[in-house]
């Protein structure tokens, strides 16, 4: 059974988990020469979630999605650095840390919403009490 009230938060959690992955890759590669920092855009993911058919239809495991498109329709995009570095690395630690913290809080928020939904569903199932 697909409960719409839950699935929207599940999608949000999935996006946050994926962004957590991308941002942690940035922080991990803070000292790697020529690494280009990437990020996911929430508005983009929302647009992708609204029009489900944005991805290419894959009928085989060997089919590739369009470049940079995740399964949820969000695009990994390269960050534009405010300052250039000699080694070609575009990770700016303060930006990444801030984004990582923000994303973690958003994840917790989605989690809290989902928790509330589950609680109210359970409350309804039990008929109060």
């Amino acid at each position: 059974m697909d409960i719409p009230a839950l699935s929207q938060y599940e999608q949000a959690l999935r996006f946050r988990a994926q962004r957590n992955q991308v941002l942690s890759s940035n922080i991990a590669n803070a000292d790697t020469p020529n690494y280009k920092a990437r990020d996911l855009d929430f508005a983009d993911a929302l647009k992708g979630a609204r029009q489900e058919s944005i991805g290419l239809t894959a009928t085989s495991d060997q089919h590739k999605q369009a470049w940079g498109t995740t399964r949820d329709g969000a695009h990994t995009m390269y960050r534009v650095p405010t300052q250039s570095t000699l080694d070609g690395n575009t990770v700016e630690m303060d930006v990444e840390q801030a984004a990582f913290a923000e994303n973690a809080i958003q994840y917790r928020a989605s989690l809290a919403f989902l928790d509330g939904q589950i609680r109210s569903l359970r409350y309804a199932l039990k008929g109060g009490d």
Partner: protein
């Protein structure tokens, strides 16, 4: 569960940073060492990092850190005229290692801060995962 992969990414970065710390420690320990033979003098070593992508099509945005190897610095050695030195060569010269103490100290600070960042990242992600596990309790 995609959050688990963050541990791999952070782990690879911590591994790379700890190698960097080890190399820096060797460099600092050998700072100021001299030899009469320029081929035997200790040369500053530096680790080389590269990005380790999860796959070729790279949709997930996952990228770990790979240690490509440790290279020796090609910076010129300093030659010092010191005929009374027991290691001095026939002309009375000794060669001093090309380790720059200032550079190594900066390297050490950078490595330790990067390491800490990765530890923080693991802690935050661990919290998120634990909270997810207790969902609906």
């Amino acid at each position: 569960m995609s959050l688990f992969k963050v541990f791999d990414v952070a782990g690879s970065a911590m591994n790379a940073q700890s190698v960097r710390m080890n190399v820096t420690a060797s460099n600092l320990a050998n700072a100021g060492s001299v030899s009469g033979d320029p081929d035997k003098v200790y040369r500053a070593k530096q680790p080389v990092f590269s990005t380790l992508l999860a796959s070729h099509d790279d949709q997930s945005g996952l990228a770990g850190v790979r240690l490509e190897g440790v290279v020796e610095s090609a910076a010129p050695l300093q030659m010092r005229f010191q005929p009374d030195h027991p290691e001095a060569d026939a002309d009375g010269n000794v060669y001093v290692t090309n380790v720059s103490t200032v550079e190594e100290m900066v390297n050490m600070m950078s490595a330790s801060r990067s390491y800490k960042n990765n530890v923080e990242m693991i802690n935050t992600t661990k919290d998120l995962l634990l909270q997810t596990l207790s969902l609906g309790r």
